[in-house]
Amino acid sequence: MEAQAVATQADSALPTQNRITALFGRKHEGLLNVYFTAGFPNLDDTLTVLEGLEQAGADLVEIGMPYSDPVADGETIQQSNLQALNNGMTLRLLFEQLANCRSRVSVPILLMGYINPVLQFGVEEFCRQCQAVGVDGVILPDLPLDLYLDEYAPIFRQYGILNIFLITPQTSTERIRLIDEQSAGFIYMVSSASITGSVSGVSDEMLAYFDRINAMNLTNPRLIGFGIKDNETFRMASQYANGAIIGSAFIRLLQEKGTDQTQIKAFVEAVKGK
């Protein structure tokens, strides 16, 4: 029991062949993680977009669990959350939609969202469902590290679900070390002090921050998110980390052009620069 209590996510993740861990084991550069909101633009679009992204060459997919009060997100993702909720999206329905997804896609899947719907669903039931449908990791920005470790880490470990943590330009070196120690899969590097979709371009300040993190030689791979919107920003981020995460720009594409496969493919290829 004692050994289990001090085990990190990485220790227990290995035997289950987590798809995220496996991905970073074989590929180290230019990884693209694309975010989209479940049940958006239409309720039944979740699987269509997921398949579209795998076929288009996304390396990871992050599925947003819509929430009424997404405080870390900017207007674009807020609106997509609201629209999905108005469509009737729920966490229970998301697990139903994903029930057979592993017969159709092999791309690593993350669920991103806020803690309250997960608490109402039940943390253990949530992790059990994630494992059952083939979700590999989760990003819950308002579940901070200490509360995760105090209350929930053993449950996530039991079901082999990786919990991905964020760091920002304001995160102290000491805290980054702690997060690195407790992380598995990858670390989500927020590019600047901001909500999603609010940054344009890459500033000198950001580059200094990217350099500083690079110099720390962290154990975990890193993906840079916030402010990634096209090939230029993707390439820039990929020079400083293992890849990048794109969200708001893809939501805008879905909003404007729908879930057409060729559009998704064109978007992903344009970002990756193929």
Binding site: Y67, S68, D69, V71, A72, G74, E75, Q78, L82, L85, T90, L91, R92, Y114, I115, N116, P117, V118, L119, Q120, F121, P141, D142, L143, P144, D146, L147, F165, L166, I167, T168, Q170, T171, S172, R175, V190, A193, S194, I195, S198
Partner: protein, 398 residues
């Protein structure tokens, strides 16, 4: 009456919990700011030079101590001895300024250059804009666009005081959404900005810090009541609860006096079961809202419900974690007061005592007839704010 468990504590823990409620459920982007505040707030607040400056401003600028007034005609009407703690006589017209004075002094000691705040009825926004003008700091206030319409005089006051008022257009366009927008603003401005939360909500240390600043209400009540009745302790302390800052202040020094019943009046809107209500403890379940684990109104799927109350200051789907703990532990009695009951109580106090209360405060007054009072009972009602801002609403009932 509920028997209080001897081990029940109402002190906040190091990690910010009251019983099972509280904590700091915040995204990493807010962690450095909140952590800076958590590490420093108690030391700053306990520093003698801080206390001297805070106390001087409360006396000379806010106008404290506020009177404890024996409302004789109201007492006759409800059949008990009712005292009104006159927070409505504070500068800016409500208790909110006790907290904004305290927090801006904290912000200055943390070398912050800019203040962001949320507001519902506009009282906290005005109190924040006021202290920013006093201290010469830039002020940005987020307010739901619906609230901006129904509380226009307060919008004008904030602007006259030099604040920028930004409409929150997401969601229900009321207090919850204004709070979301203020948090986003803070995420986008992490180094030089302090977020002055207006109630005992938000991530630790906010609920504790705000309760401590507002605790001047019960500190004064105790000594004033001792002078007037020979006892520091009434039988009941009554206050309205939206987030719950005036209630936290009015209850604070009575939390560990089991003989004093703590009574919270929540807004039932059109009725608890009407679907148009803000009666959080009646309708809510434990969950996480705005950075703390508390009781909140939500769907089965964990989506936060849009609340409704005639009172913009009580139109909030959660309550502070301290109040969730008071409810959960049985230490507090919670009453749900409808719009109509509140309006009637507002008219009653106006006619009996010549005091027009804020509609928020009128909810506390409306609890009095529901409490089963005895003629020997001494009751303190926190008269949290004045009703000038609500005249347009009251006028519809004239």
């Amino acid at each position: 009456m509920t028997v209080l468990e001897p081990q029940a504590s109402f002190e906040v823990t190091d990690k910010g919990f009251y019983g099972r409620f509280g904590g700091a459920f915040i995204p990493e982007m807010l962690y450095p700011n909140v952590e800076e505040l958590r590490r420093n707030y108690r030391a700053i607040m306990e520093d003698p030079t801080f206390q001297a400056e805070f106390r001087a401003l409360l006396a000379d600028y806010v106008g404290r101590p506020t009177p404890l007034f024996l409302a004789e005609r109201l007492s006759n009407e409800v059949g008990a001895t009712v005292y009104l703690k006159r927070e409505d006589l504070c500068h800016t017209g409500a208790h909110k300024v006790n907290n904004t004075i305290g927090q801006i002094l904290v912000a200055k000691r943390l070398n912050k250059k800019r203040i962001v705040a949320e507001t519902g009825a506009g009282q906290h926004g005005v109190a924040t804009a006021t202290v920013c003008a006093l201290m010469g700091l830039e002020c940005v206030v987020y307010m739901g666009s619906i609230d901006m319409e129904r509380q226009k005089p307060n919008v004008d006051r904030m602007r006259m005081l030099g604040a920028t008022v930004v409409p929150a257009t997401s969601g229900s366009q009321t207090l919850k959404d204004a709070t979301n927008e203020a948090m986003r603003h803070w995420i986008n401005n992490p180094v030089d900005t302090h977020y002055i939360i207006g109630s005992v909500v938000g991530p630790h240390p906010y609920p504790d810090m705000v309760a401590r600043f507002q605790s001047v209400i019960s500190e004064e009540t105790r000594s004033q009541l001792l002078e007037k009745t020979g006892s520091e302790n009434p039988n009941y302390v009554v206050a309205c609860v939206g987030g719950g800052s005036n209630a936290a202040g009015a209850f604070f020094h009575y939390l560990h006096e089991p003989s004093v019943r703590l009574v919270a009046a929540e807004a039932a809107g059109l009725g608890v079961s009407s679907g148009h209500s803000a009666a959080t403890t009646a309708l809510g379940k434990p969950g996480v809202l705005h950075g703390s684990r508390t009781i909140l109104m939500q769907t089965e799927d964990g989506q936060v419900t849009e609340p409704y109350s005639i009172s913009a200051g009580l139109d909030y789907p959660g309550i502070g974690p301290l109040h969730a703990h008071l409810f959960d532990s049985g230490r507090g009695d919670f009453y749900a007061i409808t719009d109509d009951e509140a309006i009637a109580a507002g008219f009653q106090l106006s006619k009996l005592e010549g005091i027009i209360p804020a509609i928020e405060t009128a909810h506390a007054l409306a609890a009095l007839p529901k409490m089963g009072l005895q003629t020997s009972d001494v009751v303190v009602v926190c008269l949290s704010g004045r009703g000038d801002k609500d005249l347009a609403t009251y006028a519809k009932y004239l």
